[in-house]
Symmetry: D2
Subunit: 309 residues, 4 copies
């Protein structure tokens, strides 16, 4: 399934059981929940997906499960590839993901060290990884995770060199930079934003879509905003956007991925356990989270659970 078939993507959580082992049944149920809401999925992402806490073998199994579960229903993007580690190991993981049939591999910049790598090292790294796979590639320019931003000329060079580099995801609060990306590479590749709070301006400047974590709790809310924008229905888009800001405020309070799993529990769903070093919220904090979600009208009961607007 082409990644262009969805405008909104969720960084899926990774459910664990009480012993910290991957809970495949919960994962499958959660992926179906996401897909039914109209979003594509990124699995094993660093933050929401606890990707940093997964071994390579676990990631490959998760890619496999996601492809089995969602094939044809929603695009599956393999996240958790890049950032830390030797390029050779990252390359093997990317190949493994492609072999398992994911719809795209999402490649983070190299960050072996708090000191940013040199520009030629970044370019060499991306060339090796993009050349290692035949499936579509999504390039991440994520300064929040990497600690530095990719220069636009490097992004242009890579986009022009590799037709299967089908999307570029930019995580940057400045919408004029997103507009520059659309102008520079928007005719050859999809330009996505990883800043969901900027969805209105992303649509305005011509971005192709958005990646977010909020969809884990209310999968259809962000797609509903995007649909309203596509339909030119500003009133509906703004009303749903205000809902999104309420949800984001609550989720941000205790940090990602804690809040996501706890919020699912609060609204009566099961996202599984966290893996250490993450710990569940103490009782009074969970109560605050539950109350905040209820007061904001999220998950008040079976009828409106997950309803977006």
């Amino acid at each position: 399934m082409r990644i262009a078939e969805r405008a909104v993507y969720a960084m899926s959580i990774t459910p664990f059981d009480a012993h910290g082992e991957l809970d495949e049944a919960l994962l499958r149920a959660h992926l179906r929940f996401l897909s039914a809401g109209g979003v594509g999925v990124f699995v094993c992402s660093q933050g929401s997906g606890e990707g940093d806490l997964l071994t390579g073998a676990e990631k490959l199994r998760i890619y496999e499960v996601a492809v089995e579960e969602l094939h044809g229903a929603a695009p599956v993007c393999a996240a958790g590839i890049g950032l830390a580690g030797a390029t050779a190991g990252i390359e093997a993981l990317a190949r493994g993901a492609a072999e398992r049939g994911v719809d795209a591999v999402y490649i983070l910049p190299p960050r072996p060290n708090p000191v940013p790598p040199r520009p030629q090292e970044v370019e060499r790294y991306y060339r090796r990884l993009i050349e290692a796979v035949d499936c579509p590639v999504i390039l991440a320019n994520n300064a929040f995770l990497a600690g530095y931003t990719l220069p636009l000329p490097t992004v242009i060079t890579l986009v022009e060199a590799y037709p299967h580099l089908e999307a570029v995801l930019l995580v940057d609060a400045n919408p004029s930079l997103l507009a520059q990306y659309v102008r520079a590479v928007g005719e050859r590749t999809l330009v996505l934003t990883g800043v969901v709070s900027g969805i209105l301006q992303a649509h305005a400047v011509g971005a192709a879509g958005v990646l977010c974590m909020e969809a884990n709790v209310v999968p259809d809310l962000v797609p509903a905003i995007w649909s309203a924008l596509e339909a030119g229905d500003l009133t509906a888009a703004e009303r749903r956007y205000r809902r999104l800001m309420e949800l984001s405020t609550v989720i941000a309070r205790y940090g990602n991925p804690r809040s996501l799993k706890e919020a699912l529990r609060a609204i009566g769903r099961d996202g599984g356990h966290l893996r250490e070093p993450y710990l569940p919220l103490p009782g009074e904090e969970f109560a605050d989270l539950e109350r905040s979600l209820r007061e904001a009208g999220f998950g008040g009961g079976p009828d409106d659970r997950g309803r977006s607007a």
Copy 2:
């Protein structure tokens, strides 16, 4: 004139002559240019208005000129009050502004030092300054200038204590914080944003308006975005927003206030000279600025100069 009568405000430049002296004639002409575009004005602002380079006497004269020139045509807000200096001197300046008949005084947080002041010092400072004037007050929460952010509880306390605190301006890239401000104090006071690139989300979450520097070059562009949003015309709002992003990208290239005055020159208007330490752009940089504005369709000739959409 009530500040609520305009949704968009410009941080006006301050024109100087070749000797670095205030050029009142150019200032008057520029203020009329802004007012004709449908914006209210902030004069003596730190960045665009070179407020940091003005003496107290010069600021008072500028407030006076602005009131004379615009009285009844556009609200005049006295900026350049606060941040550096002893509270007693800031208080005298605020009183002087009020005496000259401005429609509001805009008060920046205290920043006598790169180390943020203590919370009780911030509250005491704002109480003294707000109590010093009878005219409407706009409180600034500007972490970009102050180096720290005001706690929301302090803002709530001040808003509840002083009815003439008629607006709070928030400079923060996070729209969920802006939404929290609207929820917390939006019924008692106007909530404005100082991040014009976030104008779409500001309107969505219920902010009352926006303060920007771009209006110095194209005064009617941002008001046209706001009008389209008010009218529910998403297509027009987005088209104009893309124009704004083009303008912002060009202006950001050489920094504020250099770019503003040079951009006015490039489109055939006269914003006067900069005051040192600022220097005019070297020839090839000015040529780049001029070419970029022309290619983006700003100020190509007398017919479309300043036309926004």
Copy 3:
């Protein structure tokens, strides 16, 4: 008096009376206290000297008082010149300082805006100010205050162009940069550090001295460290250095300049009042400061008040 005649300089506090007016008698007494401890003085410095809260006229009066009081006893350096404001106004202040007979003017980089000025603007600014005076000049490379660091090539250019640029003060935690400064300009000018905690390494790499705020409370402690280093007496230098770290820890707790004036009060001296927006410490915080100083052996009584080692 040549600035080279002292290795240690104090950023003197500025005593105010209960109404926030300059207290000249206390200022004179404090300057004598400093001078007797063996340090030179910087008056009107931004932080410790509350320089940001002083008008230009007040600064000129303070330079005058300091010259009257200390002439020949300790070098007097005019601080509080630069950073904010128009270059023309800064130039007038520098000239005024020189006319009042200070032993050097200390010039901070331009910071009209949180966005750093352009390199040609910085160089032009310094050339204008250095050329404006005949007396010795101390150039400040203070990224803590300015928000950016001067490029070493610019410093070299200025040192080579102006023989009366007699010292360069570097505020940077990296001692290898200080060593580079000593190698690059140390034969033509004095290289001073503004990081007193790095005094041991500053002496090791060949710096000429140090500027500090701690001398306001115990004037002879830092000179005693420097003397021990000059004498090759490591044991004494280290013992005194540990005292300095204890003093710095206590002073840092409530921030500069609050802690300095409150610490003087705690040890039985009178540094005068703070000027708003600074407020005196609440009772329990003052009690904590007093107890900490007493436990560390500072100012326990008349016999050891101010004794350093």
Copy 4:
């Protein structure tokens, strides 16, 4: 061998062959080179040791090799444990290191995410890891790598709870914080600094030693500084310290670990290849590095190679 038997530790490089595989022969030779210079070693450290690019199996093999090679000659500390990954996996690595007979395990704080973990998560993490091993533990408070600093009360709690927590390593530029650590836990545990440029002040405030990367190129230089300090020979300590600053300046130019391996090549030693994403320096940069080292007198020929003073 007790870790207290060395005051200076090197973060050893990890030599690779041309295919990016571990080169055990070069590793052994390098460890002997270090040991002969008088330093203890940390192997698999994140930066200098390219620890982030090593698999768990490779790390265990390196610990094994280091113990075989150095047992009794120099203390071997297992680094590269912590920071990224699930706590369970980190625990297994720490146990594996202990089983291979290292003299201590060095445990980095958790950093599964750019957002710092919660205090109870940090404490739980450290308790699990410290309890997992019987061998001595070195706790790292490294804000440079972790992005946050451990609160001193947490460090005190852990030191008091676990007698085999034999050292705390602080990476912080502020020497007064190091002095606070010495006062707070120095009687129960060794306090080490990871900021070699602060070695003079670390000795002065009573720290037990220093961890550095410079020893990879000139192993006996930092021990020679420490010995001079222990002997009270300030002149020798300062002369050697200036040498260290020269070395640090050159090494810092192209970043760690590139510079270390290239510097070894420049002085005629073999540190092996880098592993990607790191790339060797281009020719002209290597030439600059070689010339800088030669001009500074490092490795000019067989006679003075590695001589420190």
